[in-house]
């Protein structure tokens, strides 16, 4: 036993190996690689927004009526809005809110939903399953956007509360995904063998079953980043998310929509920014889906 252990390459080495293998498969899909590049650019641009943005001050309360409603030029790549703020700078800062939202919402809802689904699926058919999954069904029965709209409406409309609303509608999706995976895996021989030899439930759940679900979870998270950002933008669009003058992407679209069609750039560019981030996440998600689908076969 010992000798075998020493002969195996180190964990870091193995990890690198499998990562290289996955990347090789992933990179065969050029569109997905494009998605990765696009997404990395968005992250970098958001992270360094104060340095990149030509007018960082325009993301804060700022008014310059002399330069209001300027069409796109070299000075203002995306033009300026009705109070003279540079839309390009505001879009860069807008990405910060969007990415922050994705990180926080998924950071809370994924572990929560995954745990619930994992446990419920493993104890399939028992009262634990019934309790957890019927609780999940309550959330799933209301259309997601409607649920988020109602929660934000009851609370005060701002960024934090829109995150709470989206988290509340998001975890059931992961719970359902993991329920399916976990309930089918719990019939597998390697799990039954562990059960027979008296291994504790917690060990089976998190060390045996969970690592086998990483592929689908990762794929779903990637797609989710796009959808969460979109949902956040949607809530901002109807006035229940990021509040002006803060530059939320959805907030900017709805503010710009008041000046259609004359000042089209105030709507079109923030809207395209939303589409771009959803697109990049979808491209990556598709690529991951193919990579892990091969693995399952």
């Amino acid at each position: 036993m010992r000798t075998e252990e020493t002969l195996r390459p180190s964990l870091g080495c193995r990890l690198f190996d499998s990562c290289a293998k996955y990347w090789y498969r992933f990179s065969s899909n050029k569109l997905s690689v494009f998605g990765v590049v696009l997404f990395l650019i968005i992250i970098l641009v958001a992270a360094f927004a104060p340095l990149i943005a030509p007018y960082p001050g325009h993301a804060k309360p700022f008014v310059d009526f002399k330069n209001a409603n300027q069409p796109p030029t070299l000075q203002h790549l995306f033009g300026t809005d009705r109070v003279g703020r540079d839309i390009f700078s505001r879009v860069l800062f807008g990405y910060r809110f969007s990415l922050l939202m994705a990180v926080i919402v998924l950071g809370i809802s994924v572990p929560f939903g995954v745990t619930i689904g994992l446990v419920a699926g493993y104890y399939k058919g028992s009262w634990i399953d019934t309790l957890l999954m019927r609780f999940t069904d309550i959330f799933l029965s209301v259309p997601p956007l409607l649920l988020a709209l109602m929660i934000t409406a009851v609370l005060k409309p701002n960024l934090i509360n829109s995150m709470i609303a989206i988290t509340a509608m998001w975890w059931p999706l992961h719970a359902r995904l993991l329920y399916g995976l976990s309930s089918s895996l719990s019939d597998e021989y390697f799990v039954v063998a562990e059960q027979v030899s008296g291994v504790r439930g917690r060990h089976i759940l998190f060390v045996e079953i969970l690592p086998n679900c990483i592929g689908p979870i990762l794929t779903k998270i990637t797609l989710d980043v796009g959808w969460v950002i979109l949902m956040g933008a949607t809530l901002s669009f109807v006035g229940l998310g990021v509040q002006p003058p803060k530059p939320g992407l959805g907030t900017m679209v709805s503010a710009g929509a008041k000046d259609l069609p004359g000042v089209w750039w105030a709507t079109v560019f923030p809207a395209l920014a939303i589409v771009l981030v959803v697109l990049s996440c979808n491209l990556i998600g598709d690529g991951l889906h193919d990579v892990f689908a091969v693995e399952e076969v």
């Binding site: 029965s141 209301v142 259309p143 997601p144 956007l145 409607l146 709209l149 109602m150 409406a153 009851v154 609370l155 005060k156 796009g226 979109l230 933008a233 949607t234 669009f237 109807v238 006035g239 229940l240 679209v253 929509a257 259609l260 069609p261 089209w264 709507t267 079109v268 809207a271 939303i274 589409v275 959803v278 697109l279 979808n282």
Partner: protein
């Protein structure tokens, strides 16, 4: 609750005693279970209470708004089914040619663009750049609305033979319906294409061909019909998608429907109206999901047999 509904209903300048009286009449000071009891008592008598904002019975307002939404959703559903199937079938028939690639890219774009962004883009393109379609409402100013029979304007104007009003109201519907349907068109065309291509190489298809059955019959009866089941089974979620995105699209196009009414009542914290809208939408989802199950059972005999065995 932050954002006191009574304060919102009466305005910032209303004196405190008036607001207090309003709370009293609307039972807002009672504990939640008691409030729920009052609501339930009204509900079983078919009374949803009165709107905080307009002071009219919520039921009347919903009765006025519901047909507009139904009409829009039905229209979107028709566009959705026709185009979704057409694109999916064409892509499957000419799989791996440029037609297929165009269809795939279109589907991808449809999934990625959120409906409210698409709504704004369509409005910009067809109302302002090429002003061929009207921007808001259900009917242009100069045209007399048809008498209210079903409340669905297109249907009413056809029944009364008013061609002019019919054309105008359909023109108003095209953009919002298309903005709503696009996501579903994309999804359905992808599913139809995938399930038809899956079956293309099946032995029984080769068998039908060997028996000399015409290519057309093979395509439509033996390839398309079994491929419809997965498409129909996503109709439930698709319907939900239409209704919920209606909350945004109806607002953008000023469509006087239930979703816009719901959206407005959410923003106004008009509690009676919100409960009523959510209840009605929930009932709709339940009915639609049941219908979808029935149709899927009809399309896929396998499912009927499994269900019967379980009994």
């Amino acid at each position: 609750m932050p954002g006191d509904p009574a304060r919102l209903a009466l305005g910032q300048r209303a004196p405190e005693d008036v607001v207090e009286r309003f709370r009293e009449t609307m039972h807002l000071n009672d504990p939640l279970p008691v409030q729920y009891f009052y609501w339930l008592k009204g509900f079983v008598q078919g009374d949803f209470g009165i709107s905080f904002i307009t002071r009219r019975p919520v039921l009347d307002e919903i009765k006025a708004a519901l047909p507009a939404t139904m009409e829009l959703i039905l229209f979107a559903l028709i566009i959705d089914i026709v185009l979704g199937q057409l694109i999916g079938i064409t892509a499957a028939k000419y799989s791996n040619t440029w037609i297929d690639n165009v269809a795939r890219v279109t589907a991808y774009v449809g999934i990625v663009i959120p409906s409210f962004v698409l709504a704004l883009f369509l409005m910009l393109l067809f109302c302002y750049v090429f002003p061929v379609l009207p921007t808001t409402g259900r009917l242009s100013g100069g045209i007399a609305p048809p008498p209210v029979l079903s409340g669905m304007m297109a249907l009413d104007s056809i029944i009364t033979g008013n061609v002019h009003a019919f054309v105008d109201t359909v023109k108003h519907m095209v953009l919002p319906a298309f903005a709503l349907a696009m996501g579903n068109i994309a999804q359905e065309s992808r599913i139809t294409r995938a399930s038809m291509i899956d079956r293309k190489g099946a032995d029984w298809i080769a068998f039908e061909r060997a028996n000399g059955i015409s290519e057309r019959l093979v395509f439509f009866k033996y390839l398309l019909r079994p491929s419809l089941a997965p498409t129909v089974s996503v109709m439930g979620p698709c319907f939900a998608y239409l209704v919920v995105n209606g909350f945004l699209v109806e607002v953008i196009f000023g469509w006087p429907g239930l979703a816009r009414y719901g959206m407005q009542s959410i923003l106004d914290k008009d509690l009676n109206a919100i409960t009523a809208v959510v209840l009605i939408l929930g009932a709709f989802f339940a009915i639609v999901n049941m219908l979808v199950d029935l149709v899927v059972g009809w399309l896929n005999p396998n499912m009927r047999i499994t269900a019967a065995r379980r009994r």
